[in-house]
Symmetry: D2
Subunit: 383 residues, 4 copies
Amino acid sequence: MTTTSPATTTRTESTAVRTGVWFVGARGSVATTAVAGCAAVTAGLHPATGMVTETPPFADTGLPALSTLVFGGHDTASCPLPKRAEALTAAGVLPHGLPTAIHAELAAADQEIRAGGPQPGDTRSDEELIDSFADDLRDFARRTGVARTVVVNLSSTEPQPAPDDPRLPASSLYAAAAIRAGCSYVNFTPSTGLRTEALTAAAEAGGLPHAGRDGKTGQTLLRSVLAPMFVQRALTVRAWSGTNLLGGGDGAALADPAAAAAKNAGKERVLADTLGTAPEGEVHIDDVPALGDWKTAWDHIAFDGFLGSRMILQTIWQGCDSALAAPLVLDLVRLVARAHEAGLSGPLPGLGFYFKDPDGGPAALAEQFEALLAFAERLKETR
Amino acid sequence: MTTTSPATTTRTESTAVRTGVWFVGARGSVATTAVAGCAAVTAGLHPATGMVTETPPFADTGLPALSTLVFGGHDTASCPLPKRAEALTAAGVLPHGLPTAIHAELAAADQEIRAGGPQPGDTRSDEELIDSFADDLRDFARRTGVARTVVVNLSSTEPQPAPDDPRLPASSLYAAAAIRAGCSYVNFTPSTGLRTEALTAAAEAGGLPHAGRDGKTGQTLLRSVLAPMFVQRALTVRAWSGTNLLGGGDGAALADPAAAAAKNAGKERVLADTLGTAPEGEVHIDDVPALGDWKTAWDHIAFDGFLGSRMILQTIWQGCDSALAAPLVLDLVRLVARAHEAGLSGPLPGLGFYFKDPDGGPAALAEQFEALLAFAERLKETR
Amino acid sequence: MTTTSPATTTRTESTAVRTGVWFVGARGSVATTAVAGCAAVTAGLHPATGMVTETPPFADTGLPALSTLVFGGHDTASCPLPKRAEALTAAGVLPHGLPTAIHAELAAADQEIRAGGPQPGDTRSDEELIDSFADDLRDFARRTGVARTVVVNLSSTEPQPAPDDPRLPASSLYAAAAIRAGCSYVNFTPSTGLRTEALTAAAEAGGLPHAGRDGKTGQTLLRSVLAPMFVQRALTVRAWSGTNLLGGGDGAALADPAAAAAKNAGKERVLADTLGTAPEGEVHIDDVPALGDWKTAWDHIAFDGFLGSRMILQTIWQGCDSALAAPLVLDLVRLVARAHEAGLSGPLPGLGFYFKDPDGGPAALAEQFEALLAFAERLKETR
Amino acid sequence: MTTTSPATTTRTESTAVRTGVWFVGARGSVATTAVAGCAAVTAGLHPATGMVTETPPFADTGLPALSTLVFGGHDTASCPLPKRAEALTAAGVLPHGLPTAIHAELAAADQEIRAGGPQPGDTRSDEELIDSFADDLRDFARRTGVARTVVVNLSSTEPQPAPDDPRLPASSLYAAAAIRAGCSYVNFTPSTGLRTEALTAAAEAGGLPHAGRDGKTGQTLLRSVLAPMFVQRALTVRAWSGTNLLGGGDGAALADPAAAAAKNAGKERVLADTLGTAPEGEVHIDDVPALGDWKTAWDHIAFDGFLGSRMILQTIWQGCDSALAAPLVLDLVRLVARAHEAGLSGPLPGLGFYFKDPDGGPAALAEQFEALLAFAERLKETR
């Protein structure tokens, strides 16, 4: 699969208009990698490996060019992006020399990061917080002159909210602010975000497209290609067990059992949806700080073949979480911004390819890829 | 995915007519397992796990019922099938008690096995051998009254033939005999079989359908689902290395480097076809008699993600070769016999799902499954 | 390493005297495999693979011959041993045909199994239970005429007892009964057993030897050979993570977090003892009934090499739990009975080779093997 | 295991005298990493992870301090060491910033590298070449004033020499030159080096110690700890299969089947020596340039347990070849130089811990470590 040549890219993408990208969790590893990677690819320093939207099927879909993306966001942390990029370089996530080469872009994005909240001791009501976040979004758009903004949730996974909690989880406050400010929305985490009846309805009413939930970057990606194989070959999966080892912030957040439960719900859904029934087996997420931003996922699948013969498939996936996530985030930003421009609203099931817990559509990756290609065709037709 | 209920099966399959199944290599593990498994499933002793043709999409395609299959074949070995089945039971391939329960069916198939050839010291010409084999096929059909016969090559992998060898390889002699006797043909091995210009033309001229080559049962099956994932996600595969450990007759045959080369050609084709270019990496096939009929395949895939990050996927597949192959063989027999009945001739690219080195069609398993479903629809339309 | 020839065995082992073996958990998989295996090896049906006491260093240590062992035990379950053996055969643990071949020995052992307790609703005090169990042991010795009896705890892992519980855990009631009846004692599980100050003192006072705790059959066995390698090579282990998948009764018992905690304490001890400090990483034990008596342990070890280079070792151990445990149980029975005969009393640190959580001695397997050989020498000297 | 504190190091090591280290293959990855690592540890930039001679048992053995080592060597390549170090940094072998920090030490070593030979078209006889190399060694000693020099073979693995080849392999020319110039010798590769009758005798006659052959850095290291476990537990290893993937120069050199054969002989020896018989199974070494200096070794061990139960252990070792080898090379340099100083001559079986194919001594790592500690004691006694 060859990537689009620069000439083609220039011809087919809109460059006159600029698009805002607002990361909730803007100082995290994924956001930093996305900002750095966008600058690196734009500057021709690296190929666009991992970005599906840079492949030929998306050549004439009118996606915003990477060079037209303007980054900002919320984060309660204060470490400047150039320094975060240096840390990611030391950790082997970003290539050496990159933070220096694209220092200007990192510094520019850093200028557009606001503190967000709620901070500990914050006495503001949900409504006040939403208003405050929405103001930040409107200010950003005004200041930068972007035509439209996509808000992307990249913050640490929240515990699953208690059913009787009167307050909205933080992820939903940001989602509500996006809707209020007329922005489209992407939830790359398993947190609630826009997945409440009221917020989904508000997005629909506002004519705003959105996509989610929980980016599919490793173990679940594999599961969504392997589970269909067993079904297609009429093999009976008896047990599917898995363990994930990950360091970094994600590992620490998921060491909270409630957060892990939120994450695992998505992981197990793909098996139940594909196999027709949930097999035996558990999924563990371990915080292993020594691994830094690298993660390892081991899966053990016990299945029956002809005449009850017992067989085993095991997989070991060793990847860099931020490097897996960032190109998908850039893909989603471009696709959702373009959908917004094209007048599409509500959930976009054509983007299920990117998510563990998608807004409808098929569960098998091959079918999700077909749906994504169909979505690209639809974008072409609206030009 | 639920299997077809017996009631449905009875309703939709042709039972009045009997279909011949002629195995070249009729005393081997795969053939023995296929005969035993067909009897076991027919008798309701085991579910049809691993048989795709027993799943709902094939319910109304008019496939011959398993109970209507009549087995025979060629083999230079002389160990009777019931004894072979006992050995496979001791090796953990067949369930305990099964050889006793289906002794009659094994003995009946054993009666229909002929010696084949060429034996060492055999002075017959290619033409004489083809005639002799074709006579065996015609005698079988006459004696058993089957409406048509499918010849299936299950014999040990041959070395790749020298380009200037004046004689046909044994697999092609049997393929020629199938055509001469008006039988359809399936090549489940990497040997040449029908893959010569003259034989392919003869099959076409005879109005005979055929399918091949090299059943896709383990490592290549996995590769045909994993390689598309890397392409769809725009990840760059740098190296794909693999080692297969297998005992049994197959392991010994493939210890011959020329035979292994034939097998590996198919394995590597799926990568080159899917990825667009052949990655670095080798494939080894080791004969490990201690493993008996069980095989283990380890794959190591080095790929690049965003900004050149280096990642690794490893897979370990532990399966029973005969139990993986036999249900696919029964599937192919039914599909090719039905295609013959429906008047289809020549290669059947809709069956690429089953092969490492198919007669055209896509290389990705998901697309091959779509093609197989389309083939099933076509069969329905011809009823 | 060659096994002792039968001639040697006869010459060096005591056969005139019979030794009692009393299993707490006498109808479980390990006990059934031990009884069946002892009979099979005695009858010459199978080699003594996995029995260290059948190797040359133990030839002249005066161990009781396998043919002189007389089995009995406690179990609250009621399924007869011959039937349990059939079930283990169907599960692939015992070889086919074995239960029939040694039916007499299984039936004889079955006759010597008593109900034990405490049963649900049992109102007997701890003292009454201990007396009752000790009576069973004395009756067994009287009836069978054995010179001495070794009590072996093979029952399901108990939850770690609460510190303020006035009652003894069941495993300690059986251990107390062993002491009261003048029997030596082996604890092959992580349960408390004899590990209380009072019981240890009582064993010492009674001149009774004992050994424990928690048989080392898989993941921890590996850890006790791999951890020393890292130390000897001055490599820094950063994180050691593991997941165990096991079905059968053990898997179900260990699905109880309190029982798993008892088990994991032993597993982690070997790392801390060997590495000098406990590395990052967790251990999971998953109940996967589909695996039956087979277990799989995956370990992932992240370590630092020269100049901080990050490296990884992963291990996958696939074994049959009962087949791993049973020969060690027979070894321990022989060694502890012989120690009793030789007048040794109290804990036997020379047997740390067999345990996750031994009674003192080194933690590295190689040193434990040295200690075991020294113990064998000591036995020779007492003849 | 704690490393020796700097205070202790200063107290116990000789610093007045300087020791020469002459690498054959001085511009290769291992040599570059050894020079860079020695400087980095001396400067306190990194701990001495992986260096066994920096652990407490070696504190009072009188080893030359790292700061007293003076590097030089032969290499037919011409890329300067500082540039090689930059390349190793880009490949993730050396830490970022290190080449700059220790530029002076790299440049100094680079000044002491001579071209060696034989170059293509070189018409010099074996004797002339040996003389020329010995002159280089004497010049180095004179110029630098080192008290003695250790020659270490780190060059690419040679094909196994033909028995009737009248000329010595290059590795033996260098070994002969070492002896002629009065230097001790270490062979870290599987090439012939000093392993000829004549050269071994010459070393003995010259009173020179030597050690070899083939550094044990990965798969064989593991095998030397795992194989004894199977023996100690009386488990029967049926088959031991392995595949190594490695890039870099080593991978390319070993893609030559004759070179791979030399390497594999050592790998298989440890199994035969430990298990008493060579199990089934092959070892593959694949050149996978995409892996760079990182190597992956997969081992699959099929073994029998009690009553013939079939079990499997698999290991996956992912390491950086140069980072594994370099600290061992520095260890060997110090130990052999000290042995030379102490008047030891001939092969040093106490150093078998470091080699796949050692000069006698035990094959199990634990016993080799004991032998190494005994060797350290012997050094202490000679102070």
